[in-house]
């Protein structure tokens, strides 16, 4: 019964989306305020119905209602309760419903927190937002209905793909979707601005919190996904340059660029046309990501069950939205006048530099990801573009950007002093140089590039601290005085420093792991001892155990240093009963920033078992860096100047383009 209500609620949401996508825009054309006012309540109602529908599906999963095709195919009554919840989005239909739920939620939030927006802008933004949900609701109802029944209902379900039965995957897709879909708000704002044909600095002030929120979630989502792949797939890699990973990385790159160009637009009323374009591109890349993941056109380690007809439908949505938005842009953008001139060496110039390199890197990733598709369509030749391509293109593009990052915040708006900034960074440069020399000396005979890479990370970290340190006169004024200044510093300044610091940390982690990780693959029998990176690893025993919906073989190892035990590790190999599918559960020992990583391989005829052991120095920094970036983002978001729903700023009324 509840299932039918859920299905019906989804149909109602579609009907409301239809109203919300047309009536308000008609109202803003004709200047009818009553029609424009439809948008807000419609957005909230739409969210309510989609949420009801999602709740109904969740309920079916929790109760293991196998009369639903979707539940039968992706759940099992032995499955722990947590994974019954996460099964809801561990499949195509459910994950699309989650996508739409988040989209509708952003629509409702927009409606609730946009009291200070001009009425017609609000109506247009919500209408555009509703075009997107209209398309995706239709997609779900016509091609991927999660509420389809089976008659007669089977007794038992087929279980969720075991590799997805993991807490990392429970949180990864929602985070990623919050990021992807969050950029829809920027897209709607951009399209609305183009429809209205006017835009100003206030527009950037309204958009920035949304962009920042989406960026925070996307950063967390990508980072979670990377950590999940690292420990769940058992290969010990944190990034594979896999098409599906690239699909989430492209919106991140252009979203990061958007975040920076919106600052220029807000502060200096410049780069308006470019910012609008970035807003459109970022969400377009999010849609492209959805298409790549959901259509199965690419061979990827992350590609799950796919279906070509759905691919065609999403492709149609993709073409309509990207094509439509770009056409609108081409038609209306010339109406938007540029303002705010600046010298090449200035804060604006630095942010343009950032945008240039991020967009070029994004383009490189885009080409590397889609080139195999294009080549196959044109010539039939099958190729794969892997890590070497991306290392050769993405790497060199990031180096100048990372070197330039500490300069940006030190340059003044309009006209900056590069020499002055360089002088102020002298101490940072000297420290970085010292670190490079020490690293080179410590790892003598190792890769020289790695020492330089470490320098790049350290430069980013120290350079990020340099700017606030100077502003609070650290070590040059009494400590109490510095502390008072530190509290007085705007939170967005701290946010910038932290986010840049996090980038440095991630770079440092990536460099260290790539250069100095060691690997030991061997056959061990209980009682054997091996050694990695100064730690000895003793194989105690191999045992069998029965879990709720799997059987597992688990090995216990004692990790010790100089004969003193440090920790126990127990990697396992599971066999999920319902699907007869094996998974490898790794065991990871974190020692400050280093990790010792173990996975089990095949049992041997001779009685032992193959074991894979990695030592990964500084690997934790990769993800810790992203967490610091996110904290930086949150600090910026909490700055009262950007707070959503903050009192209307004095010049906050959208004025016609000058």
């Amino acid at each position: 019964m509840l299932v039918e209500i859920g299905h019906f609620a989804l149909v109602l949401a579609l009907a409301i989306a239809l109203i919300q996508s047309t009536i308000p825009i008609w109202g803003s054309r004709t200047g009818d305020e009553r029609l424009m006012a439809v948008a807000g309540p419609a957005a909230i109602a739409q969210f309510g119905f989609v949420a009801l529908s999602f709740a109904a599906l969740t309920q079916a999963y929790v109760l293991s209602d196998f009369s639903l095709l979707n539940v039968w195919a992706n759940s099992h009554s032995d499955q722990p309760l947590l994974y019954r919840y996460t099964s809801v989005w561990g499949n195509h239909e459910g994950s699309m419903l989650l996508w739409v739920l988040i989209l509708a939620m952003f629509g409702a939030l927009l409606a609730a927190f946009s009291g200070n927006l001009p009425k017609s802008l609000k109506a247009n933004v919500l209408a555009v937002q509703s075009w997107i949900s209209l398309a995706f609701l239709a997609f779900i109802l016509f091609t991927s209905n999660p509420f389809e029944r089976i008659n007669p209902p089977p007794f038992e379900g087929q279980d969720l793909n075991p590799i997805l039965q993991d807490i990392g995957l429970a949180i990864h897709p929602p985070l990623l979707y919050f990021g992807y879909v969050g950029f829809s708000v920027a897209f709607s704002f951009a399209a609305a601005a183009l429809i209205e044909g006017r835009i100003d600095a206030a527009w950037a002030r309204w958009v920035r919190p949304w962009v920042l929120t989406a960026w925070i979630f996307l950063t967390l989502g990508i980072s979670m996904g990377s950590y999940w792949a690292y420990y769940e797939l058992g290969w010990g890699g944190f990034w594979f340059w896999d098409p599906v990973e690239n699909a989430s990385f492209m919106p991140w790159l252009s979203g990061t660029a958007l975040l920076h160009s919106a600052i220029v637009m807000e502060k200096r009323n410049a780069l308006k046309v470019w910012t609008i374009l970035l807003a459109i591109l970022t969400f377009s890349l999010s849609l492209l990501g959805t298409f790549l993941v959901r259509s199965g056109v690419l061979t990827s380690v992350h590609a799950f069950a796919t279906d070509p007809t759905r691919g065609v439908f999403i492709l149609a949505i993709l073409v309509a939205f990207i094509g439509g938005a770009l056409a609108l842009y081409a038609w209306r953008a010339p109406l938007l006048k540029q303002g705010g001139l600046f010298a090449p060496i200035s804060r604006e110039g630095a942010l343009v530099f950032n945008n240039l390199f991020l967009s070029a890197a994004c383009a490189a990733v885009f080409i590397g990801t889609l080139y195999p598709l294009a080549l196959e369509a044109l010539t039939g030749e099958k190729i794969s573009v892997g890590a070497p391509f991306f290392n050769m293109t993405f790497g060199p593009l990031m180096i100048p950007l990372l070197i330039a990052v500490p300069f940006g915040p030190l340059l003044a708006w309009k006209r900056g002093d590069l020499l002055g900034a360089a002088q102020r960074l002298l101490a940072v440069a000297a420290l970085t140089f010292a670190v490079v020399l020490v690293t080179w000396w410590l790892t003598y005979g190792g890769p020289v590039l790695a020492a330089l890479g470490v320098g790049l990370g350290i430069w980013g970290m120290l350079g990020a601290i340099a700017e606030p340190a100077m502003r609070i006169k650290l070590f040059r004024a009494p400590l109490g005085d510095s502390l008072r200044r530190a509290i007085g510093l705007p939170r967005s300044a701290w946010g910038t420093a932290m986010a840049h610091f996090g980038v440095g940390m991630t770079v440092l982690g990536v460099v260290a792991v790539s250069a100095w990780q060691t690997e030991n693959i061997l056959v061990m029998k209980p009682g054997d001892t091996t050694e990695i990176a100064g730690y000895d690893i003793h194989f105690n025993a191999l045992q069998e155990r029965r879990g709720p919906n799997f059987d597992e073989q688990f090995a216990t190892f004692t990790v010790g240093r100089d004969g003193i035990p440090v920790a126990m590790l127990s990697p396992t190999k599971r066999n999920y009963r319902a699907r007869g599918m094996p998974t490898t559960e790794t065991a990871i020992l974190t020692l400050a920033t280093r990790q010792i990583y173990m996975a089990l391989g095949d049992p041997q005829q001779s009685g032992g078992i193959a074991v894979r052991i990695y030592d990964k120095p500084l690997v934790v920094l990769i993800w810790l860096g992203t967490v610091v970036m996110v904290i930086g983002g949150l600090a910026s978001l909490s700055d009262r100047r950007y707070r959503v729903g903050a009192p209307k700023p004095a010049r906050g009324v959208a004025a016609p383009a000058e």
Partner: protein, 143 residues
């Protein structure tokens, strides 16, 4: 400023073009590998079915198996731990190079997350050999 932008874009385009000619890996079926002369040391991807009964494992960490498209067979040597979903009779994609001794040595073996999933390249290669049967999508549903 426009000059800098142009410069960056030119460098980026150059890098991409260079990397595309140099750093891509071609996909081959066992038939392609046998019939085309691929110079030793050139990285390729080899995909097909893991031949039934061909997997020799449990002799240390190195594993040997035969990849087939039913027309030709190629023996693959892989030193490492196979992915969980690697099975006889299932699709697989391996990446590596033919050594000077004529043996194909893989350093990467990809099998997919989902046990019902066939890598697209492998499916296409098998279709070419006429041995692909398209699974009935309803076959998995209970009656």
């Amino acid at each position: 400023m426009i000059g800098t932008a142009g410069g960056v874009l030119a460098v980026a385009a150059g890098l991409i073009l260079f990397a595309l000619t140099d750093q891509i890996v071609f996909f081959n079926s066992p038939t392609d590998l046998v019939e085309k002369s691929i110079p030793p040391g050139q990285r390729i991807r080899l995909g097909g079915l893991v031949k039934d009964g061909s997997v020799v494992r449990g002799q240390g960490s190195a594993v040997e198996f035969v990849v087939t498209d039913t027309n030709r067979d190629v023996k693959v040597i892989y030193d490492g731990i196979l992915p969980d979903l690697f099975r006889e009779g299932q699709g697989v994609v391996t990446e590596g190079a033919v050594g000077t001794d004529g043996q194909f040595r893989a350093d990467t073996v990809l099998a997919k997350h989902d046990e019902t999933y066939m890598p697209k390249e492998v499916a296409d290669a098998l279709k070419k050999q006429g041995v692909w049967r398209h699974d009935d999508p309803d076959a998995a549903k209970p009656q």
